[in-house]
C-alpha cells in the first residue's frame, strides 16, 4: 500500500455543544477512568459496564498505537469494541478520544448523557460478522467508507482498487460478495475497514477466514495501513499479536485482567489463557 498520498481524513467539523462535556464533569469522569501511564492528547479511553453480558472493562489505548485485545470466547471483546464504536450504549461508562467525549453514561440515572452517533465518531469498525453490502461490488464496498468521508466517486473507486490489490484480490473488484470465497470476503472487509482511515480503527478477528500464507504476507501491509492510527485488534492468533501490536490487553470474565507491552504479556504470561494462546 503506497503511503505517499496519505489517507483521506474525514473532516472533523465542530463538535456539537451537547457532545462536549463541561470541564468540571470531565474532570470527575477522569477519576473513574483508569490512570494511564503516558496520557496524550488523543488517547482512546474506554470504561464500560454492560451487566447483561457480565462485562465491566476499562482500558486506554495510547494515541497512534495498536492494542491487541485477547481472551476466550464470550469474554466481552466484541462488546468492548461495540461500546467504542457506539453500536452499544453501556449501562454505565465513558468513551473518549483525547478531550472529545464520544459516550458518557454516568451511574447517576439523572445525570446528563453524551452520545455521539457511530457515523460521527471518527471510528471505523470491522465487525466480527463483516456484513459486506450484498448489492455492491467488492470495490463499491471498499469505496463506501471513502465516499462517506467525502472523497469523490472516481477517487474513492481508484483508492478502493488499490486497497483490494494490496489484499491480493484486485481481480475480484467487480464481484458481488456472494460470488467470492469466505477468505476473499474477509479480505474485502479488511480493506473496507482501513480504507477511510479515521482516527480510531477497530478490527474484530479480521484474519479468521484468511489463509495462513496470506496472513503472513498481509501483516506488513496492514501494519503500514494502520500506522499512525489508534487501533484495537481482536485476535485469537498469537502470530497476529506479535506481528502487529504494541500492547496487549487480556480479558478474563468480562474484566481486563492484564495489560502491557507485547513482550511483557506474551513473554511472561501470568494467565493460563495466554499460555494456551501461545500453544
Amino acid at each position: 500500500m503506497s503511503r505517499g498520498q496519505g489517507h483521506p481524513r474525514k473532516p472533523e467539523g465542530t463538535v456539537p455543544a451537547s457532545e462536549q462535556a463541561p470541564a468540571a464533569e470531565q474532570a470527575s469522569a477522569a477519576k473513574q477512568a483508569p490512570p494511564s501511564e503516558q496520557a496524550s492528547a488523543a488517547d482512546l479511553r474506554v470504561f464500560a459496564e454492560v451487566p447483561e453480558r457480565d462485562v465491566a472493562a476499562d482500558l486506554t489505548v495510547p494515541a497512534g498505537t495498536i492494542l491487541g485485545l485477547v481472551g476466550p470466547n464470550g469474554v466481552g471483546k466484541s462488546t468492548v469494541l461495540q461500546v467504542i464504536s457506539g453500536l452499544l450504549i453501556p449501562a454505565a461508562g465513558e468513551v473518549s478520544v483525547g478531550a472529545r467525549i464520544l459516550t458518557r453514561v454516568p451511574r447517576d440515572a439523572g445525570a446528563r448523557r453524551v452520545f455521539v452517533p457511530p457515523h460521527r465518531r471518527g471510528v471505523s469498525q470491522l465487525l466480527q460478522d463483516p456484513a459486506l453490502f450484498p448489492s455492491m461490488t467488492a470495490r463499491d464496498n471498499v469505496a463506501f467508507g471513502l465516499r462517506a468521508a467525502g472523497l469523490r466517486k472516481a477517487a474513492a473507486r481508484d483508492r478502493a482498487s488499490e486497497l483490494l490489490a494490496d489484499m491480493g484480490i484486485a481481480q475480484l473488484a467487480d464481484r458481488k460478495p456472494h460470488q467470492m470465497s469466505g477468505g476473499q470476503q474477509a479480505r474485502t472487509a479488511i480493506a473496507r475497514a482501513v480504507a477511510a482511515g479515521p482516527d480510531v480503527i477497530l478490527l474484530d478477528e479480521p484474519f479468521a477466514a484468511v489463509d495462513a500464507e496470506a496472513v503472513a504476507e498481509f501483516r506488513e501491509t496492514v501494519r503500514r495501513a494502520l500506522a499512525g492510527h489508534t487501533v484495537v485488534l481482536v485476535s485469537h492468533q498469537a502470530g497476529d499479536l506479535w506481528a502487529l501490536c504494541d500492547h496487549i490487553a487480556v480479558m478474563s470474565r468480562g474484566r481486563i485482567a492484564q495489560t502491557g507491552s507485547v513482550d511483557a504479556v506474551l513473554g511472561d504470561p501470568s494467565s493460563q489463557f495466554v499460555r494456551r494462546l501461545l500453544g
Binding site: K10, P118, H119, L127, P130, F133, A148, H178, R192, A196
Partner: protein, 269 residues
C-alpha cells in the same frame, strides 16, 4: 460442457395442490368472465372513443398514483419502523384504514376534506385551487386507497431485513441519509417494486372513491372502471369487454415490470 448449478432448496410436493387451489380461486372467475366475452364485437367495443379516453386516463392516473405512493410511502414506512415515538403502534394501524373503509365512504371522506367546503379544500378554494372533480382528485383518491399497500410491503421488508447492514454502514462513518440511499433502499428494491405494483394495480381498479370524490367526467375523471360501471347500465357486453381489456392491460404491464428479480435473488444467497 454444461455449466454448474447451485442447488435450489426444494418445496414439499403437497404444497403444490394447495397452491393450485389458491390459484384457482383467483383464476377461475377470470375464466368465467372470459367465457362470457362477446368475441365478435370485442374489438369494436374496446376501441370506441370513450373507452380509449378512459383507458388513457386510467393509465396516466394509476401510474402517477403508484409513483407518488412509493415516494411518500417509503419514507412513511421507514419512519414507522425505525423511529420510536409515542403512539407509533396506533399510527401504524391508522395508516391501514383506507383499506378497511369501503371505497365510496373513503370518497365521501375525501370530499369532506378536500371538497370546496372541506377542512383543507375550503382554504384552497379561497385561493382559487379546486381539487375535487379534476384529474388531480382522481390521483388523490387512488393514492388514498393504495398507500397502505406500499407502507405495509415496505414495513415487512424492513422488519425481515433487520439493521445489520445499516449498522455496518454507520460503523464506517456513513450518515443516516447515505446509509438510507446506498444500503437500505437497494436492499428494499424488491419490496419497493412489489409495493409499487400493488399500488398501481389497486389504482387501476379503483372505482368507489373516484366516482364519489372526483365524479365521472369523460376525459377528466372517468377512468376505465367508471366507464365499465356506466356501460354496465347500458350494455353489459361492453362492460365485460372493457373488463377483459383492463385485465389484459394489467397483465401485460405487471408481467413486464414485475419479473422475478434474478439480480436480486443473488442478494442473500
Amino acid at each position: 460442457m454444461r455449466s454448474s448449478q447451485t442447488y435450489q432448496p426444494g418445496v414439499p410436493a403437497w404444497l403444490i395442490p394447495i397452491a393450485v387451489v389458491a390459484a384457482a380461486v383467483v383464476l377461475l372467475p377470470l375464466v368465467g368472465m372470459l367465457a362470457r366475452l362477446p368475441m365478435g364485437q370485442f374489438l369494436s367495443l374496446i376501441t370506441s372513443v370513450p373507452s380509449l379516453e378512459a383507458l388513457r386516463l386510467s393509465l396516466i392516473t394509476a401510474s402517477s398514483a403508484a409513483v407518488l405512493c412509493v415516494l411518500l410511502g417509503v419514507p412513511l414506512a421507514v419512519t414507522l419502523v425505525r423511529i420510536e415515538f409515542p403512539g407509533r403502534q396506533l399510527a401504524r394501524a391508522f395508516v391501514l384504514l383506507p383499506l378497511v373503509l369501503p371505497p365510496v365512504v373513503g370518497g365521501l371522506a375525501l370530499l369532506y376534506t378536500f371538497g370546496r367546503r372541506g377542512v383543507v379544500g375550503a382554504p384552497l378554494s379561497a385561493v382559487g385551487i379546486d381539487i375535487a372533480f379534476s384529474t388531480i382528485a382522481v390521483v388523490l383518491a387512488q393514492i388514498f386507497v393504495s398507500m397502505p399497500f406500499v407502507v405495509i410491503t415496505i414495513e415487512s421488508a424492513l422488519l425481515s431485513m433487520g439493521t445489520k447492514y445499516e449498522i455496518a454502514a454507520a460503523s464506517l462513518g456513513a450518515s443516516p441519509w447515505r446509509s438510507l440511499l446506498m444500503v437500505t433502499v437497494p436492499s428494499l428494491m424488491p419490496a419497493i417494486l412489489s409495493g409499487g405494483i400493488l399500488a398501481f394495480a389497486r389504482s387501476l381498479g379503483e372505482f368507489g372513491a373516484t366516482i364519489t370524490f372526483a365524479g365521472s367526467l369523460q376525459g377528466v375523471t372517468r377512468t376505465l372502471p367508471l366507464e365499465i360501471y356506466l356501460q354496465r347500465e347500458a350494455d353489459p357486453d361492453a362492460a365485460i369487454a372493457l373488463s377483459v381489456l383492463l385485465v389484459l392491460i394489467a397483465v401485460v404491464i405487471v408481467a413486464s415490470v414485475y419479473r422475478l428479480p434474478a439480480r436480486y435473488r443473488g442478494l442473500r444467497p
